[in-house]
Subunit: 458 residues, 2 copies
């Protein structure tokens, strides 16, 4: 029989125990910080109806959706149709982000709190080309506040995200802050017509990578005439080595009164507010930031860390999205952290604390009844210890070698002698220390060793 490949599908991963333990450590921190900020947990199905998903992520997003093939009758009918295409073969797809499901939920359930604040930590799927830190199945960790246009909501989502990063041990991150409305104002100030706005943003976004000449060239190629292009570049070349006030002064001088100018003032106010949150010192006004998603309507954010191309997460205000699903407009603002990027940086920088993987105690034995072993395992577990029981008879040396390999810190050894005497041998593997004690004392010793090794564990 020819063997099936046992690798996971391309762009997806198996998480072996140490991976899961690290991921849990990070999501536990995220969860506790999000809850401290008053966010409530939400979970939605992996599968959504396609008409919920389509058209929300741009043409490229639609291409990257995983679609679920019809079954039974629906499939038969599709296969019989004359002009078969993918729209006839599927009407459900996998979740692409956590924002659209939230918008659907907010529109569906009328009795949610007025300022429904939710967090959601779940995987999403995109049929993208896999790359470093880019997977086809990956986790997003989102916070969103719905039901208010108050800038306090912007400050709260940034506060939550900053606190997460600080608590995980990041110290050199920056939340870049901009606004869609400010961007539109700046582009208008350069005399670029609204229909070329999108094009101009794509070019400006490359300023860091291709420099001013490169951007000028690209702006021209995109049909923006030289004078407007030069003027746009002059507006945007203000970010490096200036503080928020300097940048704001530079921009304000170039903006007429109107929504763009008002948006700039709001960003400055947000900056001041953030100085009163854990984000203090970790945010900056960043006029070139232009997040791709079309649904943003106000401030936008992105987390930048040194030495990482791409961001750890981003977000912004989207006041019109929920209204696409429901009877009424519901303003909203959110921030999404990408779990895999966080893990990538934490692994490279060795930021993980020692995380106990697996059992505390390996229970080794010879010449005793199974029932006696199981009773002892039960007793040790009732004392709060994580216990692995060697399932097969083997030489004691081999059993202890197994404990060493598995990274178990301690062993308990039950032989016929110990059993007869009501005793137990306990061994501290790192310290090569071994004692034979009355059973209750032995269990107490193991618990003491365990507490000394990991004082914080409950």
């Amino acid at each position: 029989m020819s063997k099936t490949s046992t690798k996971p599908p391309s762009g997806m991963r198996d998480f072996l125990p140490l991976d899961v333990i690290r991921r849990q450590h990070v999501t536990d921190v995220i969860r506790s910080v999000y809850e401290a900020h008053g966010f409530l947990p939400l979970e939605t199905p992996a599968i959504e109806n396609l008409n919920v998903l389509l058209g929300k992520y741009g043409a490229e997003g639609d291409q990257l959706l995983y679609r679920i093939l019809h079954r039974r009758d629906a499939l038969t009918r599709a296969l019989e149709s004359d002009d078969l295409d993918q729209s006839k073969l599927a009407d459900q797809g996998l979740r692409y982000d956590l924002t659209i499901p939230l918008a659907r939920v907010r529109a569906q359930y009328q009795d949610l709190p007025r300022y429904f604040k939710r967090y959601q930590i779940q995987p999403v799927w995109r049929a993208d080309r896999p790359g470093r830190g880019r997977f086809r199945e990956f986790y997003q960790c989102d916070v969103d506040i719905t039901g208010t246009k108050s800038a306090l909501a912007e400050a709260e989502v940034c506060s939550a995200v900053a606190q997460v990063l600080l608590q995980l041990g990041f110290d050199n991150f920056q939340i870049r802050i901009n606004s869609r409305v400010l961007l539109s104002g700046l582009i208008a100030a350069a005399n670029i017509p609204p229909e070329l706005e999108e094009s101009a943003l794509i070019a400006i976004d490359k300023l860091d990578k291709i420099g001013p000449e490169g951007v000028l060239k690209e702006l021209n190629q995109r049909g923006i005439e030289s004078q407007a292009a030069a003027s746009l570049l002059e507006i945007f070349e203000c970010e490096s080595a200036r503080d928020d006030t300097d940048i704001a002064t530079h921009l304000a001088a170039r903006l007429a009164d109107g929504p763009g100018r008002a948006a700039l003032d709001e960003l400055l106010e947000l900056s001041r507010m953030l100085e009163c949150t854990p984000a203090a010192g970790h945010h900056r006004l960043s006029p070139t930031l232009a997040r791709g998603l079309g649904y943003y309507t106000g401030p936008i954010f992105e987390i930048e860390v040194d030495d990482l191309a791409g961001s750890l997460g981003g977000g912004g205000r989207y006041d019109n999205l929920i209204g696409m699903f429901g009877k009424q407009e519901v303003p909203a603002v959110g921030f999404s952290i990408g779990l895999e990027r966080i893990l990538l940086v934490m692994e490279e920088r060795e930021m993980f604390p020692a995380l106990g993987a697996g059992a505390d105690v390996l229970l080794c034995w010879s010449d005793v009844e199974s029932g006696e072993l199981l009773s002892l395992a039960r007793e040790l577990r009732a004392a709060g210890l994580k216990v692995e029981l060697i399932p097969e008879a083997a030489k004691l040396k081999k059993q202890l070698a197994y404990a060493d390999n598995a990274g178990t810190a301690f062993a308990a050894i039950l032989g016929a002698d110990e059993q007869a005497a009501g005793e137990l041998t306990v061994k501290h593997l790192a310290q090569r220390e071994q004692e034979r004690l009355p059973r209750a004392d032995a269990i107490e010793t193991l618990c003491r060793w365990r507490t000394e090794a990991a004082p914080d564990r409950p």
Copy 2:
């Protein structure tokens, strides 16, 4: 614009905050018990290659698989093919259970511990007809021990599952225990040929529902002649109101020496072992139990509780499955708990403890700067409190009503007066008790109230 339906897809559910909190309570208990038993966490992708999944769950299982539609070139090629069917439209599908992914993982990674014990708590997807407690997306909570044929492994998985149920507050459950090998022996003892074994099992499995006459009729319809049918029924009518020893004596008298007889002895030994575990008093020999999946090769288990049609979970030994993926046979035994069934019973029986949902403190305010509010929120959170901040100015009465609605236990009120005096008003909403105190004292009071309300929370 016509509005999209905002319901989740049929057979799938949105989990609103209280749902998630209850689910987390149950999975936290499961996780901690599994870890106490020395199981390590594993997570695998939602999507598997179809050749991993197909043929493992019987013809019906293959029908219930969610398949992922090809994209781009692969889809174009498929649509151009002459004899288009679903096998050309998809080569990936959604996870159907957690056992096949474990088998794939065990075969793929050569450096896993010899007795790799893993737990896995993840959703699976089946395009089944939705019903009470039956969903198309649902969570399984599995433990498996691989690499050993020792009956200690059977005892350990049953121990873990029993401890989970006890810790959740179940007291009237039974783990029904049988063996595929014993079943084969009993069917042979009734002179039914092996090719009719599957048929005979389907009929016998209905004994509870349709009674002996019904089963006899069905056995005849399935081509089993009357004398064999009567003899089979006589063998299996032994379960009610007898203990394991009685049942075993009844069966042993009808079995010749051979694998069936040996399997019976092994089950009795397992029963004795289970009396030394948390499963003591919660297991019984159950010769009519016949779990559907074809891959079981030895003991099989199923959890039964009063008042619930269907089981809370099940499992068994499967010594040949991993070998289908890898170069070598790896024996294994596992047990799977269905999260949704557990939740269904716990909800109906009101078994949930009071679970704190959402914020501890609602921060209400009037006539203060945003920065002052954010500083206060930060201070309260640093003291370990979960804090929600009202994002919009409103009358104090309205803000407090919001706290009542949201189920928040306490409020902190910051007005211009409090701010000027370095004070804070704190309110215990249930006790209608309110105090204005110096800020540090106010925070201490909130922490004390919080501890009194939920002494166990860290």
